[in-house]
Amino acid sequence: MIKLFQLNSYVRGCLSACLILGFLNSSCAQAPTQPPLADEIVVYNWDGDIPQSALDAFTEETHVKIKYEAYESQEEAIANIRAGKIYDVVVMESRFIPLMVKDNLLAELNYENIPNFKNISPNFRDLIYDPGNLYSIPYSWGTTGMVVRTDLAQNPVSRWADLWDAKYAGKVGIWVGQPRETLALTLKSLGYSANSEKPAELEEALTALIALKPNLHFIEDFDPESAAPALSTGKIVIAMGYSGDFLASKDIGLQVEYIMPEEGALLWGDTFVIPSNSPNQSSAELFINFILRPEISAEIVNQKYYASANDAARIFIDPQISGDPSIYPGEETLRKAEIILPLSVEGQTLYDDIWQRFLDADPK
């Protein structure tokens, strides 16, 4: 029989060990683990905006399938997002971001998963619509200028103001579905900032637009996708349009030129965002990071002819594209160009009102 004393010290030893060593023992430190990759992510974008080859390459490498869903307009996309539909990666124009952020609809990005962000051009970093790029990653960008049938234009068109030139009355086309741009170019033609929220300036713009209205075509009446059909009819000689429209027109053999107006072209930018209700944020970030690879971004540019915000991709881009001023405008142009920036809430209301009045205005 163990003497009590022995039992005692044995018990004592055990107890002490347990107590004291347990006293200082905390739960094991665990390095933060990455959540597992999703089986599939939903990418929401303009139809065909990302070439299938890029999507496939991603799936092949990561075994994450991509469900590609297309929207027909930003407004539609935003409405769906607000309605709560689930998307993992959404391509959204920069100007819509602040409001989405304000309504907590966008997820804060985890840059640990997007180291390729370093490839993004300084031109598109830390801009006003998303300081610090907390919610968006620049994807592609481009200009809004004028596509002109040089064979039908009497003299070279070089300014937004030329749209109001009597020579071209009735042969001018605007995208009515792009109120911001329309108003922006009008403001610029008047020498104001494309993002002006000054009521006086806007009123002036409205007046100008209303004045132009009888001479105006809506390009969507010809083709909702591209200005090329409208230009090909010859009914429109000067169209407000994008490089895409220019290239499309060239493709169908029209003699056209892409004009960067002297007052300053309009710049647009598409970004990747991740809705806050996405269940697969890290997989989405992986996808974005993949796109940001120089060669992938270059691949997209080479197929879609839209400029990429990815500077590192420059070397992989087809020199014909990278040298194409309609896609990659020169410095002068860029300096003069203005990005369509988000409006304040009041500004937005103002714009809506102005536009509505434009639409209601009676064309004479």
Binding site: S16, I20, L21, A312, L334
Partner: protein, 760 residues
């Protein structure tokens, strides 16, 4: 001593209790020490770490301040100079490696002056107007942007401030210098700092990979705690980027949106505590073991040992060993108890002694009383003997005996067997005459007619075996003894006679050597079983009386009264001698002194030998002469028997001739034989020595007799003078030999031989 069960043992319980106590104490001590060490260490480190963090903050602020000061100075004083001579800006850039680019931008967002180490980034930005840095600086505030990484993995931040001249002065500041500064800041062995901005983005870290990989602590509990703390100063524990447990101290860099966070791995912060947590318990346990051992020893020595001694002592005393004493080694409380115990044991011993003495005394007293009683019975007898002679009527004898017994508070009945030996006739009843008369009247029978048929005798053995019988209850045995008397009357008589039927009764046989003559029943309240021996003598007398009267009746018919008388005399003498012998015997019980005892025994033997002569005479046909050969045989055997037990293996060889001796020679010769044999038996075979004794009686020619006692024992010691010896026995022999005019010859070789011869 019983083995005490472990669960009950006091020692075990004390040890367990003290063990628990020591354990608790040990735990308390260890906990306190460790806690003390822990808090001291923690406080020390925290103070140190806070200081280091403060220093780091100063360093970082200085670093930033340095750059800002330069730019401010440029803006304030050198603006025009630079405008005129842009090279100055290049120079400045060269002298300040922290700057990658310095740009002056006008209100409209157009760069006016610029110098860049490599490619101008700021100046080339076509989105200046839409840049956050421009917007903020243009609105009048300075701003540090997030850390940017170029595709070449160069890290920089953009600092922009409003220019005095309108517009913005912006600079690209490379982070390497800051990183180096940060990396240099160390405290302790493994403590270091890093910087985060308000969004939790890591701006600088000794591990540049962390910055490059855009690590963000924005959603960590640590960062939340920091933001919630007043002044963003926070001290606490968290996990760092590598998952190592650290102690963090945070402090904001003033005038920026940066926060310096210092981290000290807990391993270092609590190194002493950890060490102590293994060392201290071991030490304390060791200490406690020693304390426990010491305590156990002390417990045993001071308390358990004495307790065990007391236990043993109590056990011993309990088992009756009252002489057991405990050694008292100490003068403390237990020593006192042990002393008291010893005293108690001594008292008990004394008490026991006293008790034993008292009991012995009581026993002695009782014996003395019993002896006195027996004495008085025998004295009574002697009186009876004195009063009676052969002419006495047997009834007279009975009456005398009965009266004497009555004086001793005993009642008696004498019953005599009739000639058929089948009935006992009541010859005497000691009950008062009135009662007897009354009974005779009631029953119509004389008392002398009361006869008890054999099958109603209370105890046949009294008659058949001539053995005395003690019945503690008179009633039981005698209820139906008298068939003539109805039971009721029997009871009435008894009551009338004042006889208590619960009294004990002794039935004594009245018998001589040949036959049973009857029964003497004696009862009384104070009758004791030990009275049997004395009463037996009485019975003898009574039997003698009966026999004598029978004989007398017989002989009286024959006309041989004289012979009867003679015989009777011999018988009486024998009886008297026997009484004397009995008295002597009783005396021996009272005497403790061995010398006296021996003397008494010797006297007794002598008297017996004389009594034997008279008995022989009483039995012989020639009443004047005794058959001496037969006498020698009887006496030798008798003597031998009485000493036989004390001796080893001794053979007795008797050879006798038939010689008829008359009293004058028979008595002395008998006494001589008694002495010689007694001597031999007493001294010839000491220490259980084996041997043989020869007794020879031969008749010689001319009426001579030789009596010889021979032994092969140790022989007479050389220095013993037979003839002049002072011992009574030898004196007697000499005197007796003279008396018969005889000769004593002693041979002392291979034993001893005594030869006495004389003419008769």
């Amino acid at each position: 001593m019983t083995e005490i069960r472990y669960s009950q043992s006091l020692r075990a319980r004390v040890m367990a209790f003290m063990g628990m106590l020591f354990l608790a104490l040990a735990i308390l001590i260890v906990a306190s020490i460790l806690f003390f060490i822990y808090t001291t260490e923690q406080n020390t480190w925290r103070a140190r770490q806070t200081e280091a963090t403060g220093n780091a903050v100063i360093k970082v602020a200085d670093y930033l301040q340095k750059n800002e000061t330069l730019l401010l100075w440029l803006d304030k004083y050198e603006f025009d100079k630079i405008k005129n001579n842009p090279d100055i800006l290049q120079e400045i850039l060269k002298d300040n490696p922290a700057f990658l680019e310095i740009t002056f931008v006008d209100k409209g967002g157009t760069p006016i002056m610029d110098a860049a180490r490599t490619q101008p980034t700021l100046a080339n930005q076509f989105t200046i107007l839409q840049s956050e840095w421009f917007r903020v600086a243009n609105s009048g505030q300075k701003i540090y942007t997030r850390v940017q990484t170029s595709p070449q993995n160069e890290s920089y931040i953009i600092f922009a401030m409003p220019s005095q001249h309108g517009g913005v002065l912006a600079a690209q500041i490379q982070m390497d210098a800051l990183w180096n500064t940060v990396a240099e800041i160390q405290f302790g062995e493994t403590g270091r700092i890093y910087i985060v901005n308000q969004n939790g983005q890591v701006i600088a870290h000794p591990n540049s990979q962390i910055v490059l990989s855009n690590q963000n602590i924005g959603d960590t509990a640590l960062f939340e705690a920091i933001l919630q703390s007043p002044g963003e100063k926070w001290i606490g524990n968290a996990l760092n980027f590598e998952g190592v447990k650290v102690v963090n101290v945070s402090m904001p860099v003033e005038l920026t949106e940066w926060i310096v966070i210092s981290e000290l791995p807990q391993e270092e912060a609590y190194a002493a505590s950890r060490q102590a947590s293994t060392l201290i318990p071991v030490l304390v346990i060791f200490l406690m073991i020693i304390v426990t051992i010491t305590f156990r020893r002390m417990l045993d020595r001071v308390i358990m040992q004495p307790l065990n001694l007391l236990r043993q002592g109590a056990n011993q005393v309990g088992q009756g060993n009252l002489s057991h004493r405990i050694a008292i080694p100490r003068k403390d409380e237990l020593g006192e108890v042990m002393g008291v115990f010893n005293g108690m044991a001594a008292d008990l011993e004394k008490q026991q002694d006293n008790l034993q003495k008292a009991l012995a005394y009581e026993y002695e007293t009782k014996r003395a009383n019993d002896l006195a009683r027996s004495n008085s019975i025998i004295l009574a007898l002697s009186k009876v003997a004195a009063q009676l002679d052969s002419s006495s009527d047997s009834f007279e004898i009975f009456d005398t005996v009965g009266k004497e017994l009555k004086k001793l508070e005993m009642d008696s009945i004498v019953g005599v067997l009739d000639d058929s030996k089948q009935t006992i006739q009541i010859r005497y009843v000691s009950i008062e005459h009135q009662v007897v008369r009354w009974v005779e009247k009631m029953t119509g029978h004389s008392v002398r007619d009361l006869a008890i048929p054999r099958h109603l005798w209370p105890n046949e053995k009294v008659i058949t075996e001539k053995a005395a019988y003690w019945d503690p209850n008179l009633m039981k045995g005698t209820l139906n003894m008298f068939p003539i008397i109805p039971e009721k009357l029997h009871k009435a008589v008894i009551k009338m006679a004042g006889i208590s039927m619960d009294d004990p009764v002794i039935y004594l046989p009245l018998a001589n050597k040949q036959e049973a003559l009857g029964v003497l029943a004696v009862w009384g309240a104070g009758l004791k079983q030990s009275d049997v021996s004395a009463l037996s003598i009485v019975a003898n007398q009574v039997a003698t009386a009966i026999r004598n009267s029978q004989l007398y009746e017989t002989e009286a018919r024959r006309g041989r009264e004289k012979e009867i008388l003679l015989k009777e005399i011999h018988h009486r003498v024998k009886n008297n001698l026997q009484i004397i012998s009995s008295l002597l015997n009783l005396q021996t019980d009272q005497v403790k002194d061995t010398g006296t005892l021996r003397a008494l025994r010797d006297s007794q033997a002598r008297v017996r030998s004389m009594a034997l002569i008279h008995e022989k005479l009483y039995q012989s046909k020639d009443l004047a002469k005794i058959e001496f050969g037969e006498y020698v045989q009887s006496l030798a055997k008798d003597l031998f028997r009485s000493y036989q037990r004390a001796l080893g293996n001794i053979k007795l060889n008797i050879q006798v001739d038939e010689i008829a001796l008359d009293l004058d020679y028979a008595v002395p010769c008998g006494l001589i034989l008694n002495e010689l044999m007694t001597n031999t038996l007493k001294y010839a075979f000491p220490n259980g020595r084996d041997g043989s004794i020869q007794v020879e009686l031969h008749a010689g020619p001319g009426q001579t007799l030789s009596l010889r006692v021979t032994d092969d024992g140790v022989g007479i010691p050389a220095d013993l003078d037979i003839f002049n010896n002072k011992s009574l026995g030898l004196q007697l022999v000499n005197s007796l030999v003279k008396q018969v005019d005889g000769k004593l010859v002693i041979e002392n070789s291979k034993g001893t031989s005594f030869l006495v011869s004389f003419k008769y």
